[in-house]
C-alpha cells in the first residue's frame, strides 16, 4: 500500500526509536579513528586530557557577618504549624 508522503516523517520517528543510537554495535569499529582502540580494554580514550585544577568548589567556609544574639534555652521554642493537625 502506498503511503502518502505526509506520513513519512511520523513513520521515521516510530521506527527510529526501535533502532536507536547503536552506532557502536552496527558500525565497524575504526581502530585508527578519533577514538583509538587500545589493546588494554580498560584504558580510556583521551585519558591524558588536562584535568589538574585546584579543587575550588568548596564553599563551606563562607563567612557571614552575624550580629550577636542570645541563644534560646533548649526548652523554649515556639512551634508554628502551617497546617492544623
Amino acid at each position: 500500500m502506498k503511503q502518502p508522503q505526509g506520513d513519512f516523517p511520523l513513520d521515521m520517528e516510530k521506527h527510529g526509536s526501535m533502532s536507536a543510537m547503536n552506532l557502536d554495535d552496527s558500525e565497524p569499529l575504526d581502530p585508527f579513528g578519533n577514538g583509538l582502540m587500545h589493546s588494554n580494554n580498560h584504558k580510556l580514550v583521551d585519558s591524558d586530557f588536562f584535568n589538574s585544577f585546584e579543587d575550588d568548589f568548596d564553599d563551606f567556609d563562607i563567612k557571614f557577618s552575624l550580629r550577636s544574639w542570645p541563644p534560646p534555652s533548649s526548652s523554649s521554642f515556639t512551634l508554628g504549624l502551617r497546617h492544623e493537625i
Partner: protein, 422 residues
C-alpha cells in the same frame, strides 16, 4: 622565495587585494618548510610586517617562529607578540590559513599555562575565536582552550559569555567534550547548576565508539551537581546514549553512584561518614569540594522540607532536626538559602526565631515577562532549527539506509494527492 628578505618583500607587495593575498598564500605554502628551517632568525623580520595589513604573511612567520621550543626568558616576549597579532590581524586574511592560526593560538595557550599566567590568554583567545568562527554556532578547536584558561584564571563571567552561544556545528568530537566539561566547571563556579548539568549531559551522552576519559569525569561531576541542584540523581541513561557508555561508564564511577545511593537515604550522619571514609578518592579526583557541597545540600533539602510544615521555628530546633552542629550553623544555612532564593524566610536575631514565608513571586513583573518572552523566542528558534535539521536528515541517503526504509515512488496521479496531504 629563497631568502627571508624575499619573503618579506613578497608579503609587503601582495597584501593589498583579495586576489593578491590568495596568490601570496600559494607562494607561502610552498615556502613553509624553508621558513620552519629558519625559525630561529625570523623574529627580527616580524618588525618589518604589520600584523593588521600583512596578516597572512605575519601568520606564516609567527607560526614558523613558534614551531620550535622557546626558552622561558623569551616566552613573555612571544606571548606579547602573539596577543598583539591576534588583536590586530584581519579575519579575511587568516581565513586563508585557519590551521596555522589555530596552531599559533594553541601555542599561546600552552605558553601562558607554562608561565602560570593563564589570564593573559583569555581576552586574546576570545578575540581569536570570534575572528575564526564563520558564525557563533560553530564550535572551533579554540573553544576548549579558551574555556580552560577561564577556569584556570577564574575568569568565570568571561567564560560564561561564550558558553551562552548555542552551538550547532562541530568538527571534532573531542573539542565538544572538552568545551562542555570545562564549561560546566565555569557554571559550577558561578552556581549555574542547571546549565552545568546540560553541559555535562552533553559529554557522556555524545556518540562514541570507545569510552572517553572526559565522559567519565563529566559523569562524576554530573552525579554530584545533580545531587546539589536537584537533591536526587537518576542512574538511567537517555536512550540516545551510546551503548559503549551505557555498558561501561558505571564501572568507572561506582564510588559516586554509591554516594548518590547514600544521599537518597536522607541521613546526613551516614553521608558524612561515607564521605570521610572516601575522602582520599574524592581528593584524587579534585571533587572533594563538590562532595562537601553535596553534604551541605542535604541540610538544605531538610530545611526546605521544614518550610512545608512550620510557620516559625527556632534556629536551635532547625539545627537539631537537620542534624547541624549548632544554631549558628543553622543560621548560616538559612541565610544562604534566603540569599539564593531557595526559601523565603526572615530571621529574628533577638530570639533566634525563623519565620517561613510564602513565595511572593506573582510572575507579573516586567522582568519576569521579559524572561518568559525571551525563553519563548529561544524555543521557537530552536524549533525552527530542529525542523531544518530533520528535513535535511530525512533526505540523507546514509540515514535512510540505516533505518532501512526506501523512499516511496509515486505514480504521476499520486503526486497531487501527496501535495495536499502534507
Amino acid at each position: 622565495m629563497e631568502t627571508v628578505e624575499a619573503a618579506v618583500a613578497q608579503i609587503q607587495a601582495l597584501s593589498g587585494s583579495i586576489e593578491d593575498v590568495s596568490h601570496l598564500n600559494g607562494l607561502l605554502k610552498q615556502s613553509e618548510d624553508s621558513l620552519r628551517l629558519k625559525s630561529t632568525v625570523l623574529s627580527p623580520y616580524l618588525d618589518q610586517l604589520d600584523p593588521s595589513t600583512h596578516s597572512l604573511g605575519y601568520l606564516y612567520f609567527l607560526e614558523a617562529f613558534t614551531s620550535t621550543p622557546i626558552i622561558k626568558e623569551r616566552a613573555n616576549e612571544v606571548v606579547a607578540l602573539t596577543i598583539r597579532f591576534i588583536n590586530s590581524c584581519t579575519a579575511a586574511q587568516i581565513h586563508l590559513a585557519p590551521d596555522k592560526f589555530v596552531s599559533v593560538c594553541k601555542r599561546l595557550k600552552e605558553q601562558v599555562m607554562w608561565l602560570e599566567t593563564p589570564i593573559r590568554g583569555v581576552a586574546a583567545l576570545l578575540t581569536a575565536i570570534r575572528k575564526l568562527q564563520p558564525c557563533t554556532e560553530q564550535l572551533t578547536s579554540l573553544h576548549p582552550d579558551f574555556v580552560l584558561l577561564c577556569v584556570l584564571s577564574k575568569s568565570y563571567k568571561t567564560g560564561l559569555h561564550l558558553l551562552e552561544d548555542d552551538i550547532f556545528e562541530i568538527d571534532q568530537p573531542k573539542d565538544l567534550f572538552l568545551y562542555s566539561y570545562y564549561g560546566s566547571m565555569i557554571c559550577i563556579g558561578l552556581k549555574r547548576f542547571q546549565k552545568a548539568l546540560e553541559l555535562l549531559h552533553n559529554v557522556f551522552t555524545a556518540p562514541m565508539h570507545n569510552l572517553n576519559a572526559i565522559a567519565v569525569e563529566a559523569y562524576k561531576k554530573y552525579i554530584l551537581v545533580s545531587l546539589i541542584h536537584r537533591g536526587q540523581f537518576s542512574a538511567a541513561f537517555p536512550k540516545y546514549t551510546s551503548s559503549v557508555t551505557q555498558r561501561n561508564l558505571k564501572n568507572y564511577t561506582q564510588l559516586y553512584l554509591d554516594l548518590a545511593s547514600n544521599y537518597s537515604n536522607g541521613k546526613i550522619s551516614e553521608l558524612e561518614t561515607f564521605v570521610q571514609s572516601n575522602k582520599e578518592k574524592f581528593d584524587h579526583d579534585n571533587n572533594f569540594g563538590l562532595v562537601k557541597q553535596v553534604v551541605s545540600s542535604m541540610s538544605k533539602r531538610n530545611i526546605q522540607r521544614l518550610t512545608q510544615t512550620y510557620l516559625t521555628l527556632s534556629l536551635q530546633d532547625i539545627a537539631n532536626t537537620v542534624q547541624l552542629k549548632s544554631a549558628k550553623e543553622a543560621e548560616m544555612h538559612v541565610l544562604q538559602m534566603i540569599q539564593d532564593g531557595e526559601i523565603y524566610a526572615t530571621i529574628n536575631q533577638k530570639d533566634g526565631m525563623v519565620r517561613f514565608l510564602e513565595d511572593h513571586e506573582q510572575y507579573k513583573t516586567c522582568e519576569m515577562i521579559e524572561h518568559i518572552d525571551s525563553s519563548i523566542r529561544r524555543i521557537m528558534d530552536l524549533s525552527r532549527k530542529l525542523t531544518a535539521i530533520d528535513d535535511s536528515m530525512s533526505c540523507d541517503p546514509l540515514y535512510l539506509a540505516k533505518v532501512g526504509r526506501e523512499r516511496t515512488r509515486f505514480e504521476f496521479d499520486d503526486i497531487d494527492t501527496a501535495k495536499f496531504c502534507i
